[in-house]
Symmetry: C2
Subunit: 289 residues, 2 copies
DNA sequence: AGCGTATGCGTACAGCATAAACAATGAAAT
DNA sequence: ATTTCATTGTTTATGCTGTACGCATACGCT
């Protein structure tokens, strides 16, 4: 509970008593720096305090425990990624940009992927991100349940791909060898166990050099396929019945309310009301991107 | 290096000296049991030893360190999942079954997803799994680089989705509340910060009940889309040029060697030689599944 | 000036992985 | 049958970790 208040910056500073020597933000920032540089495992309360020039226990005046600090770190870096609905374009290009932005975030702060990911980050930045991506997805015209499923699909893919890529990179860094060298160093070992007859496809792919790519090449490949599949899914059921929830509704990209489809004309509406349509128009004029 | 020998069971038991009281397999099994029951964080050398009825340091006679033990645990449970090429059917249904089997594995042993995933598990079971999935994918006729990309895509999605689902479940278990109750308990807090006007889409989706599904519903949705995208990708370039590597080759599903396409007839061949074709036929007859 | 309060700090403790030295065991060599 | 010695099991010790507790200090308000 306390953690939420910290995340959302609700702690009203009492005007009695001694003044704090640091700010919460300072602490979080140093923790992030350590995690970025040396990895999540090396982030300890002692090391943070040491770098800040105070004792370990002083930190506990600002944060209930390490778990809450990790939450704060996550939400802090979530503030770096540009919001999906700030970019121009149709939903696909915006979603693509958003996914790439996430990918970039995970490259800069790999430790996020080592943390459990409970309800989307819970913090203000994480929530803003969540909202913006979902808002972009409303342009697909998909009903609520399917929309959330699509979000989950993209999120799962990006996180999974980033994790796999970073794990591979971490192994390289840890052993100090590139993937190629690593295989070569263990060549004599593989010759004993790894009889190509037993693993013909892997052996052949390895010989063809297909097992090693630049890290983001595979990501881009998969991302395109995922987006393709979403696009055809959307195209195949234009505002159609949602099989999972049984609703016919669509969400207004401006206010998020369900948009009723007029029974007379089959043409689906985008906004729930004329007011929302105009608000969206004005908002686009004000920020032409 | 020592770790690899352990993984592949290459330690020839010396006939001099005291007899070991346990087997490596016993140790690994108890470690897996602890991880399954209480989570990865509670797996400590002390606890394993305690459950086995020996001292902590005894374990280090069997395993160089905890890292190697974790590798052994991973490969041990990888042995549970049925091989992808053991099932009948075309590549898509086999790939689908394989993905679902992985999903099941992650459900039974969530701790795998908390571990770094370096080169596919490195162990015999992990390698057999790797080979079997890639072998199934050879039936697509895709050239090496694209084939590996497709594998990575499926793997990234399944792992990502499993992680997201399990993290959500973990939060539920930890707080002892379902997702619904959790939101309700913090309702008064959200009312202060979470003004629906600021997050209209999330608020609306929440009101529509679209944010909570049975865990595997979303997985199945995403899996279908991912497989769809792969299928159309395969259909759109039947044994065509691989844009990433510039090769025209295909892999023989039997021996894994590249299959040269006869320039005369445009029709692509499946196997690299008639011997391989017959071997595959006999193998299928022997194990009709 | 003095009170109340929040902060800063030192100590202490339980738990962790594991390095190093030492005791127990049991098969092979003599 | 006794010695030899590789191999296993145990004991002790080190340096990490997060954090509970108690106390001295500094600051705002009355």
């Amino acid at each position: 509970m306390r953690g939420l208040e910290l995340l959302w910056g609700l702690g009203e500073r009492p005007n009695r008593g001694r003044r704090p020597a640091f700010t919460l933000e300072q602490i979080v920032r140093t923790a992030v720096e350590i995690a970025d540089a040396q990895g999540l495992a090396t982030v300890s309360m002692r090391r943070i305090a040491e770098r800040l020039g105070c004792t370990t226990m002083s930190l506990y005046r600002y944060v209930p425990g390490k778990a809450e600090l990790l939450d704060l770190m996550t939400d802090a870096v979530m503030g770096e990624v540009p919001l999906a609905d700030a970019a121009p374009g149709d939903w696909r290009t915006r979603l693509e940009l958003s996914a790439r932005a996430d990918w970039g975030l995970y490259q800069r702060h790999p430790w996020i992927l080592r943390l459990p990911a409970g309800r989307p980050a819970l913090g203000p930045h994480g929530f803003a991100w969540y909202e913006s991506v979902l808002r972009v997805l409303t342009a697909t015209g998909l009903p609520p349940a399917a929309l959330v499923h699509v979000f989950d699909l993209v999120d799962a893919y990006v996180r999974g791909a980033a994790r796999d890529a970073l794990d591979a990179a971490a192994v390289e860094r840890h052993s100090g060898l590139t993937d190629e060298q690593w295989w070569a160093a263990r060549a004599h070992f593989w010759d004993a166990v790894f009889v190509p007859a037993r693993y013909p496809v892997v052996a052949s792919l390895r010989a063809a050099g297909a097992l090693h790519h630049p890290r983001d090449r595979g990501f881009e490949f998969g991302l395109r396929l995922v987006l393709d599949s979403i696009e055809t899914f959307v195209r195949n059921q234009p505002n159609a019945r949602d099989e999972t929830s049984g609703r016919y509704e669509t969400l207004c990209p401006q206010c998020g309310n369900p948009v009723s489809r007029p029974a007379s004309t089959g043409r689906p509406r985008t906004f729930c009301s004329d007011a929302c349509r105009q608000r969206a128009y004005r908002a686009r004029r004000a920020r032409p991107a």
